[in-house]
Amino acid sequence: MARVMVVEDDTDVGDWIAYCLRQDDHEIEAVASSEEALASLGNATSPPDLVVLDYALPGIDGVDLLERLRGTDPDLPALFVTVQWTGKTLQRIDATGAERLAKPFEPRDLREAVRRALAGRRSPG
């Protein structure tokens, strides 16, 4: 079980991701914008184990948000769920070292991607 933050401006998609992950007993916090995510992290006592986020977020986009989140936790695992339409987007995402998953996706793809992202977290120390 892990604490997962889901950042998705499309709440129908965000809710479904949360629904899937809850079925795997993960603890989910779903927010609809980067600003909410930053505010939530500021109020939290500890960072989440994983952040699942959209790339095309309004305002602060997904990559910029992840950089800010990693200001608090440099090893924070991340999974981008996004529509991959340009090479530039992919380059930016891959530069973060995060996992990525293309929409639309099956629940098992999501679970597998989450598992990979959580396994990639480096051990403390």
Binding site: D9, D10, D12, V13, D15, W16, I17, Y19, C20, A32, A56, P58, V83, W85, T86, K103, P104, F105, E106, P107
Partner: protein, 675 residues
């Protein structure tokens, strides 16, 4: 037929040769037994030239030999001399043929023509050939003469000069006479005015020549000034065609010979017959050569001038054509030399780079163009396409950005530059192609495709995901939870509606862009009321409170009805949708005429547009209220596109009375009484 014609030609030349021979024999100097002039040499040359190296030459050789023998024999020469002179005439004509057909082939053979004698070099070759041929023939003629007379060796020289003079004078004239005979009646080329001027000058030449001849040879008996007549030859040669110049020489020669034989003129005072013959022949040969050389030289110069004028006209025409092409090109073209001087620049180049004040100095000052790399970094002087091309490099389709005071918004240019070979100083041509709109369209298309993909794939993800969740619920062993299943279904339906709305808006967006506009007068009041009724009905169907839409008296507009209805529907739809929860939408639609436009306004009591977004709400896919309100971000961009395609404009502002929004747009007004 051909045989008869050929025999006729031979007979004609034989007759002319006999006549010329008899004429020549009338000028025999008693002490030498040789004629003073020998026009028969010229006739024989023309005769053999027109025959050329054909089988008919054998016939002509025989006829010439017999004719020459006959004329000498009939005029008192003994048989031995007559045969020797006939052999000499034959050798001379053949030797001339050998030399001329080698040096100036166009002057020998059936194709020989007087028009071939248009180059100065041909005159020189004719003179050389005539002199050599006469020298060779002298072995037969003078040698025989010397053997039967007591004359001194001057006869040898007289023979050569006499016969050469006969050829030089009569050969061109004979060929030209044949030309005239063959082309008589074909094409009169000279204009009447010019012809009259030439005739007047020709008459003057004849009068002055005759008078000079009379003064020098008949009246004057003491002063040896025969050279004054050479001035007449200069006149004839420098002002008239070779035919006239040669004819003038013949007539002048005849007069000089005739007067001298009658004991008149400076040459008659020469006591020794051989010396007299040599001087007269040299004089006539020089006069002939002078006139012919000048005339042919003039002809050559005229031909050269005509050719040069033609070339100049062609070059001017070509330059004008190239200039017209350059001026009409949409691409900019500039040629600059290594000193930075603009050698050529077409209007498109000035327009693309900006019509800068510094430009008028016609010197390239790189910094004034505001040349940047596409990423905005400045371009160094060495990186300039021009500098690179002048360095020998070829640049193909490199992108540069230009921003300067005359192109404040900037322009993306695709630049090609090539060094121009063989230019001094070294120059290069630079071609500019404006790709600003093309790249913007490409970027917009990519962005559009990206947003569409995103906005379709998100609801698709929702549909697939929640459908699977619903299937899991239904297949679970526990009794199904109706509320949960309804929740899943609601998500699926909502996502399907989003996809449908987006597809509808995409179609409307395409229609707004591509539908051909056929503007007709539209009763705006009726149209807005009709759309308003539809909105009210839709709200009632959904069980909500119908919006209050007040429609004033709206002037008729000139528009495409299908697109105008889309505009009204989108604007009323936005006003109905974007209201605070629990607030009944109230919309006031007003309009007034402003000259040839109708200003149409939609005032609502909605939630308004956030500060700073009043212009951006018209951008494609921009959504001012993404949270809590469904939408595709295309509605207002569709409205803007349609309004602009009608020649109008649209702005958004706050509605101070209600806190909502006022949409103000202009459309072309219909003529009074229409609609």
């Amino acid at each position: 037929m051909i045989v008869l014609r050929r025999l006729g030609t031979s007979a004609m030349f034989a007759t002319m040769f006999l006549l010329a021979g008899l004429l020549g024999r009338l000028t025999v100097v008693p002490e030498t037994a040789l004629a003073l002039v020998w026009p028969a040499a010229g006739v024989a040359a023309v005769w053999f030239a027109t025959t050329g190296w054909t089988r008919w030459l054998a016939v002509d050789v025989a006829v010439l030999f017999v004719s020459s023998w006959a004329v000498n024999d009939a005029t008192g020469a003994d048989t031995h001399l007559a045969l020797a002179l006939a052999a000499a005439a034959l050798v001379q004509a053949l030797a001339l043929g050998v030399l001329l057909s080698r040096w100036s082939p166009h002057l020998w053979g059936p194709h020989a023509s007087g028009e071939g004698l248009t180059r100065f070099v041909d005159v020189g070759r004719l003179l050389a050939a005539a002199t050599l041929a006469s020298t060779v023939s002298a072995i037969f003629g003078p040698a025989s003469a010397l053997s039967v007379t007591d004359s001194d060796g001057l006869i040898l020289g007289s023979w050569v000069v006499r016969n050469a003079a006969g050829i030089v004078v009569l050969f061109p004239l004979g060929l030209m006479a044949l030309d005239w005979w063959q082309q008589r009646g074909v094409g009169q080329t000279s204009g009447r005015d010019r012809g009259q001027a030439v005739s007047a000058e020709l008459l003057a030449l004849a009068i002055v020549s005759g008078a000079t001849c009379w003064l020098v040879f008949a009246v004057n008996r003491d002063l040896p000034v025969p050279f004054l007549l050479l001035g007449m030859s200069v006149w004839a040669g420098s002002r008239f065609p070779p035919a006239v110049a040669a004819s003038h020489t013949v007539l002048l020669g005849a007069a000089v010979v005739g007067l001298t034989l009658h004991g008149l003129g400076p040459f008659s005072t020469i006591a020794d017959g051989a010396q007299q013959a040599l001087v007269v022949q040299a004089y006539l040969g020089l006069a002939a050569l002078l006139a012919l050389a000048l005339s042919v030289g003039r002809l050559e110069a005229t031909a050269l001038t005509v050719r040069l004028t033609g070339s100049e006209r062609e070059a001017t025409s070509r330059a004008a054509m190239v200039r017209a092409i350059l001026d009409s090109m949409a691409d900019g073209v500039t040629v600059v030399d290594s000193d930075g001087q603009v050698v050529l620049r077409n209007p498109a180049a000035s327009q693309l780079l900006g019509d800068l004040a510094e430009d008028r100095l016609e010197a390239v000052v790189p910094s004034t163009y505001g040349l940047l790399h596409p990423d905005g970094t400045p371009v160094g002087h060495a990186e300039m396409p021009l500098a690179r091309a002048l360095g020998g490099e070829r640049i193909v389709d490199a992108d540069f950005f230009v921003r300067n005071p005359t192109v404040p918004d900037g322009r993306l240019l695709q630049v090609s530059a090539t060094p121009l070979p063989d230019t001094e100083p070294p120059s290069a041509v630079v071609v500019f192609h404006d790709v600003t709109a093309e790249r913007r369209e490409r970027d917009e298309l990519a962005s559009f495709a990206g947003v569409v993909a995103h906005d379709l794939l998100n609801p698709l993800t929702t549909v697939e995901g929640w459908s699977e969740a619903l299937a899991d619920e239904l297949s679970a062993p526990e009794p199904p939870d109706p509320d949960l299943q309804m929740h899943h279904l609601d998500r699926i339906q909502r996502a399907a509606r989003r996809m449908r709305d987006l597809i509808n808006d995409l179609l409307a967006y395409t229609t707004a862009r591509d539908l051909k506009i056929n503007p007709v007068p539209v009763d705006l009041t009726a149209m807005v009321e009709d759309v308003a009724r539809g909105r009210a009905e839709a709200s009632r169907v959904k069980g909500g409170e119908a919006p209050v839409i007040t429609v004033g008296c709206l002037p008729a507009v000139l528009a495409e009805p299908v697109l105008l209805r889309q505009v009204v529907d989108n604007l009323l739809g936005n006003s109905v949708k974007y209201v605070a929860p629990g607030v009944r939408p109230e919309i006031d639609v007003t309009a007034h005429r402003d000259e040839h436009l109708v200003v149409l306004e939609f005032h609502d009591n909605g939630i308004g547009i956030p500060a700073g977004q009043h212009a951006r709400v018209f951008d494609t896919f921009h959504r001012a209220h993404a949270e809590g309100y469904r939408g595709t971000g295309l509605g207002l961009s569709i409205v803007k596109r349609i309004v602009e395609r009608h020649g109008g404009s649209i702005t958004a502002s706050d509605n101070p009375g209600t806190g909502g929004t006022t949409m103000r747009l202009t459309l072309p007004a219909a003529a009074t009484g229409e609609g």
